[in-house]
């Protein structure tokens, strides 16, 4: 399954070190895409201004509780979708599924984020 950088659109195959270390453009945000959906998804990737991308990253990091600025975030099927700032759709069936990671999708940039690294079972306290 390929991963695509949110910022520059570069595609990386599964297991690439860039997914962990960050894209060559410096971004650590990736789309996670199924091969068969790749073509479809490619058409949907919107154009965002730099500031919009930054804002989306800030919002998602804040919402997910990822404090480390350089922590990689991989994108997958969405369970939370931000249609626009302040408007969210939540796929609760997906969220309740404990075997799946939490994924945020921000539509003003229509992106999808997998937060598997933060979804630890005993996360509280």
């Amino acid at each position: 399954m390929p991963h695509q950088c949110v910022h520059c659109g570069k595609i990386y195959p599964t297991g690439s070190k860039e997914i962990l270390e960050g894209c060559s453009c410096g971004s650590r945000f990736f789309y996670y895409i199924k091969d068969e959906e790749y073509q479809k998804l490619k058409e949907k990737i919107p154009l965002l201004t730099k500031e919009e991308k930054k804002q989306i990253e800030r919002d998602i990091r804040e919402m997910s509780g990822i404090k480390k600025e350089d922590a990689p975030i991989v994108l997958d099927l969405e369970s939370i979708r931000a249609i626009s700032p302040g408007k969210f759709e939540i796929d609760i069936v997906n969220l309740f599924n404990k075997h799946r990671p939490i994924i945020y999708k921000v539509e003003e940039g229509k992106y999808i984020i997998d937060l598997a690294s933060t979804f630890e079972k005993n996360k509280k306290n």
Partner: protein, 212 residues
């Protein structure tokens, strides 16, 4: 003498007994915090959280440990976990009619969405769950069905509370018909109507919990 020793032992055992984690789950504005407040007021004399007419007032999981609840001479130590309302859509525009500023409404929406994720994460730790529903609303919706379905799948005992029975539009029968396999108790968390029956049911479902 023997009795005193026995009483001391009993009280020691009770103090050292682990709290039963009792979670309050449900859609926004159903009265989860009002009910948690009612229990806290009844047994501790103080409230747990703030309530408001504006949906998603509780946006962080809040809890109170070691709440000794008594019913019919029996005692139980609970950790009350009040969770943010679970919804499939959070829209800041819904808050604007409550005269919130646009920026406040957007912030509330973001926090409410985070709260939903938190609430679901906490489910793992619950021993028993009280699903609080607004009895004036149609119970057949994705949120209610998903919450209850997941609790059953995880073998967490469920008690359904049909809240707001003080309101004319309240319809407990509809809730009972929607979830015929689960105990349903109609109450008014705000005024305390039928709260004794609620406590009885809490004791009943707590017996069904999985022992840790």
């Amino acid at each position: 003498m023997i009795r005193t020793i026995f009483e001391k032992l009993a009280s020691w055992w009770f103090k050292n007994k682990k709290d039963i984690n009792l979670g309050f789950y449900g859609p926004p504005n159903a009265g989860k915090t009002s009910l948690a407040n009612r229990i806290c007021k009844d047994f501790l004399g103080e409230e747990l959280g703030k309530v408001s007419k504006i949906p998603h007032e509780t946006r962080e999981v809040q809890f109170r440990e070691s709440v000794e609840v008594e019913y019919d001479g029996k005692k139980m130590k609970l950790k009350l976990v009040d969770t943010p309302g679970i919804a499939t859509k959070v829209d800041y525009e819904d808050f604007l009619k409550y005269k919130l500023k646009k920026s406040e409404a957007k912030k509330r929406a973001k926090e409410a969405t985070q709260g939903i994720v938190e609430a679901i994460k906490w489910l793992e730790d619950m021993d028993v769950v009280v699903v609080v529903l607004d009895a004036t609303e149609n119970p057949y919706n994705q949120v209610n069905i998903t919450i209850i379905g997941n609790l059953v799948a995880r073998k967490i005992p469920v008690l359904i509370v049909a809240n707001k029975i003080d309101l004319k539009k309240a319809d407990i029968k509809r809730i009972k018909a929607a979830f015929p396999e689960y105990p349903v108790v109609g109450i008014s968390a705000k005024y305390g109507n039928n709260i004794e029956e609620f406590y009885r049911e809490v004791f009943n479902i707590s017996k069904k919990r999985k022992k840790k």
